[in-house]
Structure formats: C-alpha cells, structure tokens
Symmetry: none
Subunit: 86 residues, 4 copies
DNA sequence: AACGCATAAGTAAGAC
DNA sequence: GTCTTACTTATGCGTT
C-alpha cells in the first residue's frame, strides 16, 4: 500500500470514529433525558397522580387537535358499522 | 364547595400543570437531541459513509456493552441460586 | 460423588431440559399465531381497511366497556382542570 | 342512498366484521398459549426451579439464535459495502 | 397492594 | 409510494 492510499484510509477511519463518537455522545444525552422524564413521572405518582392518565394527557396535547377529531370520526364510523355503542 | 376544598383542588391543578410542563419541556429537549442525531447521520452520509452500516456499528457497540452488563447479572443470578454471597 | 448424588443431579438436569423444551415449543407456537395475526392485518389492508383503526377497534373491544367509561371520566376531569376542550 | 351504495357498504361492514372476528379468534389462541407457558413456569417452580433463572436461560438461547442470524446479516452488509457479490 | 420488569403494541423513520 | 425495521410507549405480570 502506498502512502497516499494509507493516508486516505486513515482519514476515513478517523472520520468514522468521530461520527460514531458524536452519535454515541448524543444518544447518552438522550437516554439521560429519558431518565429525567421517568423521574418526573415517579415524582408525580408520589404526589398522588395517576401516571397512566398523565401520559394520556401528554400524548393528547402532543397530537394535533384536528387530527384527533378526524380519527375519532373514522373510528365512530367503523364502530357504527359494527353496531357498537359510541 | 367550601374554601378548603377549593384550595385543595387549586393546588392539585397547579401541581398537575407543573408536572405536565416539566415533562413537555424534557420531551422537547429529547426530540431536539433526536434531531441532532439525525443530522449527524446526514452529515456522515454526505461524507460518503453508508448510514445503514453506521447504524449497525452503533447498535453492535451498544449491544456489546449491554451484553457485558448482562453477563454480570447472569453471574450474580447463578451465584444467588447456588446460595453464594455476592 | 456417590451414585445417589449423581442420580439426583441427572434427574434435575433432565427435568430442566424438559421444562425448557416445553416452553420453547410453546413460544414457537405463540410466535406462529402472532405471524398469522400479522397476515390477517395485511390482508385487511389489501382490502382497503386502515389497519391503525382496525387495531384500535380490537383494543377497544378487548377493554371492558365500564372501565373505558370510567377512564374517560377521569380523563375529562383532568382535562377540565387544565382548561382543555373536551 | 341508492341500493348500490348501500350494498357496497354492507359488504364492507361484513368484511370488516369477518376480519375482526378472525383476529380476535387468533388473539384468544395466543392468549391461551401464553397461559400454558405461565403454567409450565409454575410447574417448574413447584419442582424447585428458580423461574428467574429459567427465564434467563430461555432468553439467552433465543438471543444466541438471533445473533447467529444477525452475524449473517452483518456479513452480507459488509460484503455489499465492499462491492462483493453475495 | 405497589413497585419494577419484561413482554407486547403502536408509531415513526428509512430503504428499496 | 410501499414496505420493512427500529424505536417508543403501554400494559400486564411477577415480586416484595
């Protein structure tokens, strides 16, 4: 292997390492925040709140209101088709 | 409703709001970091790296780490099963 | 090791193997059925049904109706506390 | 609503019902098998085996199998990345 | 009876 | 644009 090829490979390997380290660092941060969220839910539970309902509220707020309405409409349509009570 | 009950409810509602806001704030941060990760993959791709392979490497390294931790856990489990002190 | 101890261990090892094989056999069956379910969803999709809604219907039917009502009541209560539209 | 539309809807509703019933039937079977697995663990426990260790063994054997398959996948991935025929 | 864990369901992103 | 795959969320189960 000549020097040029060797250098090219080295650079690529270094770059690869750098990308991997950046990603792994970010994933750690993400995991840390996920842990924080878990802690807040635990704290809320300790204060008497139902975490299941809490999670539902969070997800409802996240979801666009209009979309939620539309989904419910489709669901009702299907439920009617099946003769289920709405 | 007497004042005491009213106040209790108010406090609960305020607490609930506070918990929700804390969680939503953290979820935003988490989503931000997820976006950063996505960007790094895109940058790597722009530098000629195959993101599929990159993701594979990341997941393998993560799994290797998890496995090492699990090995410890299995060892402890077996030692407990055999009545050995840990 | 005397014969009695040897036999005791053999029996235990045989029993262990037998339990493991029974469980693994059952898990295979379970995975097979899970695959069948997936296939039915795919077939439904091919006939123009929205699998997301389909899954929702299934889960709603599974859930006890009374429980669902109660959960909704709690949810509404919380949503009112937050000033969210119901 | 004219007859054609009505018939179309009827057919769709019947189809929907049929899909739902098929899925629910399969889910019942699946739940039955899950129950059987639970029973085997209970029986093993009654015979003096530690279910936690048992579950660990099962999951390790499952993982080993999955890993062997993944090794193949990684190999193919790298061969593709190197432009080698599979 | 409450807690954490492990599996299962649902959702969203990425590849072909 | 569809289809799979990976991640996130949720439920249920066993344990303390």
């Amino acid at each position: 292997m000549d020097d040029a090829a060797f250098n090219t490979e080295s650079v690529a390997a270094d770059q690869l390492k750098a990308f991997i380290e950046r990603i792994e660092r970010l994933e750690e941060e993400k995991a840390g925040i996920a842990g924080d969220i878990k802690d807040v839910y635990a704290e809320a539970k300790g204060n008497g709140f139902d975490t299941k309902v809490l999670r539902k509220i969070i997800s409802l707020r996240k979801r666009d209101y209009a979309e939620r309405q539309e989904e419910e409409a489709i669901l009702e349509l299907y439920m009617q088709a099946l003769g289920m009570p709405i």
